[in-house]
Amino acid sequence: MPRTGLCLIPLNPSAVSPSAKLVAHLSRRYPAEEHHAYHLEHRLFSDTSSQLPGSDVKLRSFTHVLTLSHNPQSTFVCTTKAGNPADTSLITIPVTSTDAFTTLIVSKFQPLWYLRQAVVVENGISVSVRDDEWKVCIGDVKIAPKSPGAGTLRGLIIELCHTVDEPEGSTSQDTAEEDQAMFQDVLDELFKGTGESFNDAKIIITRTSNRVGATDEVGTKSTPDWDLAKLYMNVLRGQGPR
C-alpha cells in the first residue's frame, strides 16, 4: 500500500512563496516527470453553536467540503463527531454540485454550520521523481479568492507519496517512527540546496489506496480514496483559526 505524507508550512501573507523555486529545483536536479495539475478547494464549517463565547472548543464538530485533483470527478463531504474530529463520516457528491451544496449550507443551514475558512490551491504541480518511486505535489494555499488568481497566501502544501509497497511483515506500529524519519529525510534530500529548511515541518503520514496510474482520466469512475481525503482534511483543519 502506498504511503502518503502531507505537510503544510504556514507562510506570511506578504512573503513570496518558495513553491516556484522548489519545482524548478526538482526538475533541474532529477529526471522529473510532470503529472496532472495539482489543485484543491477546501471549505471548513464548524457548528454554529460552538462559535459562541463560552462554548467548549473541544466539543466542536466540523463539516468539510473538499475537492481534490486526485479525485477530479467527485467532491468529498465529511462530518465529524462533536469532540472527536477523528470520528468521521464521509460521502462523495458530484464535483458539479459542489458550489450549490456549499451555498445551501451557508444560506439555509445557518443555525447548524458556520463557514470558518475557505482555501484553495490553484496552480500546483505534481511530479514523479526517482523512477516514479516518489510522487511530489507542491502548491500554494491561499484564502479562496473572489476572482481566480488573487487570494491571500496562507502557506505551502507539500504532498509526498511513496508509491512502493512497504516490505511484508512490517506492522504499522514498528514503521510509524521509521516512516516519519524517512519522509523527513526525503523531504530534506529533495530540496537540498534550495535554501529552504523543512526541519520544523510536521509531516502527517497515512496509508492510501493505490492510485498510481491516472485517476484523472475523464470517463473513468475510480473508487474515492477516503484515507487521502481524511489526511487532507486533517492537515487543512489544523491550519484553520482556533
Binding site: 459562541l52 463565547p53 463560552g54 464538530s61 460521502i91 457528491i93 450549490a100 443551514f109 445557518q110 447548524l112
Partner: protein, 273 residues
C-alpha cells in the same frame, strides 16, 4: 434552483384515462417511477441561552456585533430535508429490453429487489414564496450522494431520521414541464436505522399500504428553473404551466397548493430571549 408547480387530484377511477390523455398531450409513453423518501429533521442548535448569558456590557463593539450575527444565524429557520432514492434496475438496458426485468405491457419494473439498486439524492425544498402567484414557487436544491455512509453522515451533519415513505407513479415530459402522476405508500419501520435505505429490505410494492385509502393519485406539474431571481425565466415557466393547465382543464383541475401544506420549516417553540 427554483421549482414552480401546480397540483391536481386524480381519482383512482380516472387514473388510466388521465394517463392516456397525458400520453396524447405529451406524445410520449409514461415513464414508470418508484422512489423511497427518507425524511430527516434538523436538530435545534444548542447554545442560544449562552448568547443571553454573555450579553451585557462586556466586550468591545466588534465582539458584540459578532455575537449579534451568531444569534441571528442560530435563530434563522431550520428545516426538514429528504434523502430521495430512485429505484432503478441494476442491469444494463440491453438486458432490460429482453423483457427479463421490465414488464413492457404494464411499463413497470419487475419487482425483484435483488435486481434493483437505488440512486440517492439529498433534497432541500424551501417553503413556497408567500407572494400571491399563479403557481407555487420555492427554492430547491438537489445533490446526488454518490458514495459513502449517507445515513451516518446525515446524523453527524445535524439531521435526525424521522420517517420514510414510498412513491409510485408515472412521469411525462412536455417542453420544460415534468408531469408526475403519483401516490404515496407507507413503508414499515425499519429494525435498524441503517436498514432504512436498504433496498433488499423493502417489501414488494403490493404489500405496502396506500396512504390514501381512496387509492387516488396526485398530479404535479413542475418546471425547475436554474435561477429564480431571473424574472424572465420565471415568467416563461409560469406561462408554460398555465398553458398546460388550460390544455388539461377538461380532465383535471390544476391549481397552486396551500402554501402551508408544503411548509418544510420546523416549528420552533417561542424562546424568550
Amino acid at each position: 434552483m427554483h421549482e414552480l408547480s401546480l397540483y391536481g387530484a386524480v381519482p383512482a377511477e380516472d387514473h388510466v384515462q388521465i394517463l392516456q390523455q397525458l400520453a396524447g398531450v405529451t406524445r410520449m409513453q409514461p415513464q414508470h417511477v418508484e422512489e423511497i423518501h427518507l425524511v430527516f429533521k434538523a436538530r435545534t442548535p444548542p447554545g442560544l441561552e449562552k448568547v443571553h448569558g454573555s450579553g451585557g456590557s462586556q466586550g468591545n463593539q466588534q465582539q458584540q456585533n459578532e455575537i449579534q450575527r451568531l444569534k441571528g444565524m442560530l435563530q434563522s429557520g431550520i428545516y426538514f430535508v429528504q434523502l430521495v432514492g430512485t429505484i432503478v434496475a441494476s442491469q444494463t438496458p440491453a438486458e432490460l429490453q429482453n423483457g427479463q426485468l421490465f414488464d413492457t405491457e404494464r411499463n413497470e419494473l419487475v419487482e425483484d429487489r435483488t435486481q434493483q439498486k437505488v440512486n440517492w439524492r439529498f433534497e432541500f425544498k424551501d417553503t413556497p414564496e408567500s407572494t400571491k402567484q399563479p403557481t407555487n414557487t420555492r427554492l430547491i436544491s438537489r445533490t446526488r450522494f454518490e458514495d459513502g455512509e449517507m445515513i451516518a453522515f446525515m446524523d453527524l451533519f445535524g439531521f435526525e431520521y424521522v420517517n420514510r415513505y414510498y412513491i409510485e407513479g408515472q412521469k411525462f415530459y412536455n417542453q420544460d414541464t415534468t408531469i408526475f402522476v403519483h401516490r404515496v405508500r407507507q413503508l414499515p419501520t425499519a429494525d435498524n436505522i441503517r436498514d432504512t435505505s436498504d433496498i433488499a429490505k423493502i417489501p414488494p410494492r403490493s404489500e405496502l399500504q396506500l396512504l390514501d385509502p381512496s387509492e387516488g393519485f396526485v398530479l404535479q406539474a413542475t418546471i425547475d428553473i436554474v435561477d429564480g431571481n431571473v424574472q424572465e425565466l420565471k415568467d416563461r415557466a409560469v406561462r408554460q404551466l398555465l398553458a398546460l393547465k388550460e390544455t388539461l382543464k377538461q380532465a383535471v383541475t390544476l391549481a397552486p397548493a396551500d402554501r402551508l401544506a408544503l411548509d418544510t420549516r420546523i416549528p420552533i417553540p417561542v424562546r424568550r430571549i
